[in-house]
Amino acid sequence: MALRRGRGVAAVNYPTGMNLGGDPTQALVHSTPTGSFMVTLSSVDLGQGLRTVIAQICAETMGVPTESVTIDTADTDTGPHCMGTFASRGTHRVGNAVVQAAREARQVMLEVAAEELEVDPADLETDGQGNIRVKGASNLNISIFDTALAAHFKQGRSISGRGMFLVPRSYPETETGAMKPSTCYAHACTVAEVEVDDETGEVSVLSVKNVFEIGRALNPKMVEQQLIGGSWMGISHALYETTEPYYPNRTQGPRDYNAYLMPGPGDLAETEIAVLERPSGDGPFGAKGPGEMCANPQIPAVANAIFDAVGVRVDTLPITPERVLRALKEMEAAGAG
């Protein structure tokens, strides 16, 4: 009886957004009198940081600092329609709607500034620090603060924009299944290393090395937190989690966290993440949706590593010690016979 090590690999892709499209999101952007910007949405931030990344997208498009952008969301009285936060769609769909709204608002902002500076709007640029200046003549400039004041109290213009993003719905052809499920795909490859106790069937995941291609890491720290969390969830799916341990038998279902198994801090693998960026053709600044994909490749990688370690296949999730042990005993019996 021994602890035996093995490693396994898996490679996957994942579609961004609701399958077959048809999932709209709207956004509105407007400036306050002193040049702060409000993005109004009804999208839900699930803790992945949607509000932060949307503020960055708006700021980049407007050419203003992220600090000057406030996100007002998850209220159906103020925010225009969003299909919801699911299907790895938040950054891609909401981001695109915000880019469109912010472009329209930026155009008005530049027109107001041009009127104040008595120049052509096409000759203006933003410095990203809260100012608008004439290209090649930076001494000719006006702050966004003053531009917004002029828009409100002098020119009577609304610095605002509307955005809507919809991937047209695809209807599968009934005989062949010809369809367009998604406009862009994220990718991943994971190598997992495990140690299997062939006496107890217990599996420890020693390390998980993940490579994710996600289009564009709009906010690398938030990308990292999501990818690490996803990687741990993948391990948890592979080895621990189910509401029905003896499915399809409905007995012995856990009712609380004492019985619903998940890895604790001591069970988590050493986790390494590398991110590649191949910008998508239709994402905001090339972003794709990695939110769901990042929890997928660890499951088969762990399963393949278990086979590499002890030579048995458990093709039913979760791969519990009981299932590993039964498979080992079966193999032993077959060998003896």
Partner: protein
């Protein structure tokens, strides 16, 4: 985390200002200092608590419901049954024309899974509501349940859900969503090896720290404000509007911080009945799932059964792949027909295979309805595909990573669902994995590109 900038550098503008900045999440200070407010942190004078009487049977006919003892219980304000719900029959995806309506907000003539909502009890305290719920008498005639995918598809199986009339979802393509590409039988005929394997999974819980719930406050102007942790504000509003036969402008959904979603908060199961309760009593109502309800009543990730048959050549090319996938939807559709459709679109995985046949079924059983969960339609499919891929590599004595390079899809390759591949990056992910995991592969694989094929 390492950003590997050397890949696809010529496809990016790396001159952005705000994009690419590692800014902290807007909610993180509140979380670490304990100041974040969740919907359940709100307090309202006169708040009523809703507890649900649930079916103890997998499958049963309801002969009668007697709520008289429950109504007399101290502290009880109101008991709600099916006849109080204006449009009791619903299905959430009706908003995007995915019918039929197949589920009752509160059970009418039958219960189809253990845990199905039958009667809602409202009381001054959660304890009084729970005690009164225990006094509701439901007379059941127990029926044979169907508890597995295999049993459900037997010709003589009892019908789980009469609104479907059969134990699987009827797509416009028939009993399953199909994808057909090339000629899979011809592919098998030319293959050096055939491998057919079956993969299975059990239901999985989203396990959020915060359970599903909402608080509804009736406003003086006749509107209802619903503080909810839903993942989809208008999805909830629009479905509530249909179920309650109440114009949308009467409803105001307020969300905010969600204590974990993972797909578990896109079923509209708490808001409509809580809004109805607020309407019938004129008082604020709280309906929050207990941990037990979250684990055994709220929709899990579906159990799946996936059969993959592959034809592979000695040189490593997969020449045919046939997948038959079954999603255990439980008793009602919710998002499962969508999940099975998504699975059909996902197979045969990120590989270019000339002959493909996919059949993806959404099957009804007398189980807790499954629904959305992070990656559903793909997650379990990827487990099956990638374990199968590993088996194929070992079957022909090839390194599993090199085997994947041989079959990886590239730009311009036609997918089984007849979209040309664009923006592929599987090869580059595997090249980087080869480096960081110290898993060397032949030089020719390190020179491959997703952007086209070598001559």
């Amino acid at each position: 985390m390492k950003l590997s900038k050397k890949y696809f550098a010529d496809e990016r503008d790396d001159d952005l200002v705000e994009i690419g900045q590692p800014r902290p999440r807007s909610d993180i200070r509140g979380h670490v200092t304990g100041r974040t407010a969740y919907f359940a942190d709100r307090t309202f004078p006169g708040l009523l608590h809703l507890k649900m009487v649930r079916s103890p049977h997998h499958h049963a006919r309801i002969r009668s419901i007697d709520t008289s003892e429950a109504e007399k219980h101290p502290g009880v304000a109101r008991v709600i049954t099916a006849k109080d719900v204006p449009q009791n029959l619903y299905t959430i995806l009706i908003l995007i024309q995915v019918g039929p309506e197949d589920e009752h907000v509160l059970a009418e003539d039958k219960v189809r899974w253990k845990g199905e909502a039958v009667v809602a009890v409202l009381a001054e305290t959660a304890r009084a509501a729970e005690e009164a719920a225990a006094k509701v008498k439901v007379d059941y005639e127990v029926l044979d349940p169907v508890l597995s995918i295999e049993d459900a598809l037997k010709p003589d199986a009892p019908i789980v859900n009469e609104h479907h009339g059969r134990n699987y979802y009827l797509y416009d393509s028939g009993e399953c969503r199909k994808v057909l590409f090339g000629d899979v039988e011809e592919g098998f005929a030319q293959a050096d090896h055939i491998l057919e394997e079956t993969y299975r999974s059990s239901p999985i819980e989203h396990a959020p720290l915060e359970t599903s719930g909402c608080i509804v406050a009736p406003e003086a102007n006749g509107r209802f404000t619903c503080y909810t942790n839903t993942q989809a504000m208008f999805f909830t509003l629009d479905n509530a509007s249909i179920i309650l036969q109440m114009p949308g402008h009467k409803l105001h959904m307020v969300g905010g911080t969600v204590g974990g979603g993972f797909g578990g908060k896109v079923d509209v199961t708490v808001e409509p009945i809580a809004i109805l309760a607020a309407k019938l009593t004129g008082r604020p109502v709280s309906f929050i799932y207990s941990r037990e309800e979250e684990m055994q009543v709220s929709s899990p990730r579906a159990a799946e059964k996936i059969v993959i048959k592959d034809g592979v050549m000695k040189d490593g090319r997969i020449v045919a792949r046939q997948v038959t996938a079954y999603v255990d939807a439980g008793a009602y559709s919710r998002h499962s027909p969508y999940g099975a459709q998504k699975a059909a679109a996902h197979f045969p995985g990120p590989y270019t295979i000339p002959n493909v046949a996919i059949d993806s079924y959404c099957v009804y059983t007398n189980r807790t309805p499954s629904s959305a969960m992070r990656g559903f339609g793909v997650t379990i499919g990827d487990f099956a595909l990638e374990v199968q891929t590993d088996k194929l590599a070992r079957l022909i004595g090839m390194d599993p990573l090199e085997f994947r390079f041989i079959n990886a899809y590239r730009d311009g390759d036609m997918k089984a669902h007849r979209q040309p591949t664009e923006g592929a990056a599987l090869i580059e992910c595997m090249q980087e994995a080869s480096v960081i995991a110290d898993w060397p592969v032949d030089e020719r694989f390190m020179k491959m590109s997703s952007r086209g094929r070598e001559d």
